[in-house]
Symmetry: D2
Subunit: 314 residues, 4 copies
């Protein structure tokens, strides 16, 4: 029998809520609905224990993690069923590069540190990565800030035998998976792309933050789409009424045999934090499995789960 993964998380937003509640739900029900990989290196989705958590909001610091995840602006719904205390008290997280040693001390018993905060704070992201290095813990950067794409940082994780996964989650089933797949299918069938766009709408606080810091995220989205200037990404649109749901519209215009026009219009609606958690759970287990077997650096098996893996533009 495999030991549970010991997980530390920096950021107690919607994604952490979906992750923690989902782990609890799967553990309790034994359901396999919506799971990409029921087992990774023998580790099930319920075999993850939180051992530390960090947040910067006064409302969350000092609370049990399972209480903190339900505090606004978090708006991921409380799932049905029991949610016992997590037994982990949320600590005050970093707001600058001071305090790295304290974080390292707090996560020294963890195997994996998941950085799951709003994008747009590359200094903070690197500070947590530094803490992971000092503590000898694997690191996952789920934000669009460049960490795994930083060759120097990646080299240090490799040298230390610590896994480093990032950057930027490709949601379990979002435009980053769907849009390129459609474009590839089109090409496979011999159609010539004329133009294509995607527009993303969401209602979480993360989404609102991204709207105000568009460049980091847009770059990362374009990384996921490949370099084709016929494919455009419209600015993100924040709509509070969507709550934790996100909506994407994708359009593709192409030409087939004898120049005939082909049009595809697609609407995708999904839960944003759940889409993130469904990928984080795999990254966490990839990272723990690799750590346990002594593999450090980036893990190729995770590449389809990330928008901006090492080697893509920053």
């Amino acid at each position: 029998m495999t030991d549970n993964v010991r997980l530390a998380v920096a950021g107690v937003g919607n994604n952490t809520s979906a992750l923690a509640q989902g782990i609890n739900l799967y553990r309790r029900t034994g359901s396999r609905v919506g799971l990409n990989r029921p087992l990774i290196d023998g580790i099930g989705v319920g075999d993850v224990d939180f051992v530390a958590a960090f947040a910067v909001s006064d409302a969350k610091v000092g609370r049990d993690l399972h209480e903190a995840i339900l505090i606004p602006p978090n708006n991921y719904p409380r799932l049905d069923g029991e949610l016992p205390p997590a037994g982990v008290t949320v600590r005050r997280g970093l707001t600058d590069a001071t305090g790295i040693d304290a974080v390292a001390a707090a996560v020294k018993d963890a195997e994996v540190l998941l950085y799951s905060a709003p994008s747009g704070h590359p200094g903070i992201a690197r500070a947590y990565a530094e803490a992971a290095l000092r503590a000898g813990v694997a690191f996952i950067n789920s934000t669009a800030d460049p960490v795994a794409r930083d060759p120097e940082l990646l080299a240090r994780f490799e040298a230390a035998g610590l896994p480093l996964l990032g950057d930027d989650l490709a949601s379990q089933f979002g435009t980053s998976a769907l849009h390129p797949a459609l474009l590839r299918l089109l090409a496979d069938r011999g159609l010539t792309l004329v133009s294509s766009y995607q527009v993303n709408l969401g209602g979480t606080e993360d989404f609102r933050n991204l709207v105000e810091r568009p460049e980091t995220k847009k770059r990362s989205k374009l990384n996921a789409l490949g370099a084709d200037d016929r494919v455009q990404v419209a600015p993100l649109g924040y709509l509070s009424q969507l709550g934790s749901r996100k909506v994407a519209h994708i359009n593709i215009e192409a030409r087939g045999w004898a120049g005939s026009t082909v049009s595809v219009d697609l609407k995708l609606e999904a839960d944003d934090p759940a889409g993130g958690a469904g990928v984080n759970i795999d990254l966490i287990r990839f990272a723990a499995g690799a750590l346990r077997s002594g593999r450090g650096g980036f893990l190729p098996e995770a590449v389809t789960l990330l928008k901006s893996p090492p080697g893509t533009a920053t």
Copy 2:
């Protein structure tokens, strides 16, 4: 330099119009827009010559092929540019199993006989296949009637060293390519399918015929989708206003992490005859190439171009 393929066609409907006009267009312009495989065994899309054609409509029989393809109820548009006479006069086609020898005689100089008539006449389809066998010509069945799926017929083509491709074209970019691809992607990302449907609307005479003979075609569509009773195909809808365009709506409902709902709604609009011709041009060249190198029977390289290849339900 490769010799041009010598092609006979049974059926002078929209698909033949799109095929003949497209070949002429590509030959004249050198364009590669919308082409899946510019070359197959060294054969370009313009390297195909019509050597015989059959139709049952009085209006078409006796006319030059390039005139006949524009006669109603054909409603595929006349493409811009020159369309010189094809130099092939449309012969009277089969309406029952008599006259097979006459067809065989008429196609004896061809390499490939393409059967491109309305679905729902399996006896006629087999009669043309029989003629191909007698004439020593490769055969393509682009209809949903079982020909290549008939193990005995397939064995005879194999024994004769003649390629036999069928059944039922998967359009260049239609629901038969797109819907399964979306379902596969969903499964690859770990989502659990709840339900999915497609509805197809079209305005060609072929489409009208299919609406009145729904079973053959629906069976074939389900073959393309795989056996999953959560996936349903609504009856075809004929709408004359669509002309040679077809419209499909696909819906997918699924569940992801922690049971969260994911919905996809997609509209696809494409030209129906062009989508058929874009696949026929590859089947023709696969068949001619194989014939020239002595390979008979079904050709695995064609499997993604067909809805109901050998081995699927009839």
Copy 3:
């Protein structure tokens, strides 16, 4: 205070389920959500009592109405909350024109007889109308079979001072309300219609029946759309996975200033039986109010609730 309406219903399908459960729900909760007219002639939506019910299914006959409405093939969901017995036992309904007097006797204490059975049985529809005449009860025909459009029948109801409402419900918010409204808006803004279609998908038993008897229903839908041959209705598509939901796709192509193209694509998803019940509740109260004040024949205030009112094609 107004007396409750005494309602008899012929047909114990999904629409009757949605009507009975909804009346009970509104009565219990006092909610006004989703109500077009909270009061009609002083009658609230909860002020309706069932006094008789007829069905032809062995499974339903002899059961309390509130049990019978949940028996398959009915698939309208059981709404949350209490559903006490209705106190009305379902009687055996008509399958031909014999037994009219027995029905008349059974509904003699009712004020309104609502005919809510599958379309496509005009003889049965008229037999119930005849029973209503004999019993001195207002009649509502919610099917597409011609009853209120029959000038002779209408004259007899007028002469008897009995309201007669029909034919064919325009759902509370379905294509019959939405499609013409969009076309009118288009015309109001000066656009020139090029073409338009609607396609309707559903999963109820009623829907399956309509698919097999398309003409009655299609005629009625075209009545709702007005006579414009640029507007087409695709055949109904039955998809069991939709359950009691229906989905419609509407497309409009038009031209504006200087011939510029304008396209509208719309998807509507709604509950089919609830959409029917939301209109039936108003027809019932219009009929009861008119009966009480001695107004017979067709009631103009109901015209927007019906697809094929008197004067439209049969």
Copy 4:
């Protein structure tokens, strides 16, 4: 026979291109396709002559109007057919409030001055309005900047007997017409609105400007939608690939009978400048007709053509 309207235009962007080319097209062909009002006060859509034009781009100033309208960043297409010189040379327009007298002198022979420049320059808009007052010319403000909504300015136009129309065009068939109409229909049928949003995508230079100055335009859009905080407008999305086309997605979630859910998803695609010109042509003729009959101030007949008429929020 009515005299042609003498029109001056400030702004030589896409809308002016669509207006000028459309007037020429209708005049030449006699077509009535896409026209809301073929005649207003006896004035046809071809009965408008340009007598002055102002622009600020060096590339446009000094050119004949019919050349200037085709100069980038204008991307409204050149319509088929002849486009003879307009006979009007584009003058240098205002960039601040100096030069009002020169504009007044230049437009003194005009009947109507149409202000058709990018939104977001209220000072310039007022300067042109001032010039119109001095010259005794009717004024139309097609931008979102407050002019007709300014009570003091409106009073001065009224006192002078000069029509003043504005602010902000409601496109001939855009979200400002369509979205409120759908919401009204929903309410008319008794549905309870839960939430609704619209997102607008476009590819013109005007659109790009609006994206960078979102507040003025968003306020005006919300004016068109009425004050309902369940209805939200996502930020505008600029996508160069759309050229002069715009795309809008509208979603509506509502509840009907017994709380059943109803969803509407709509995609609208239209030409942006043509949608503006189709409204400008009516505003111009309303203004000219009123001026000729001595009616000044705002004209109620124009209210449905404007997003932010007098009395709405600034």
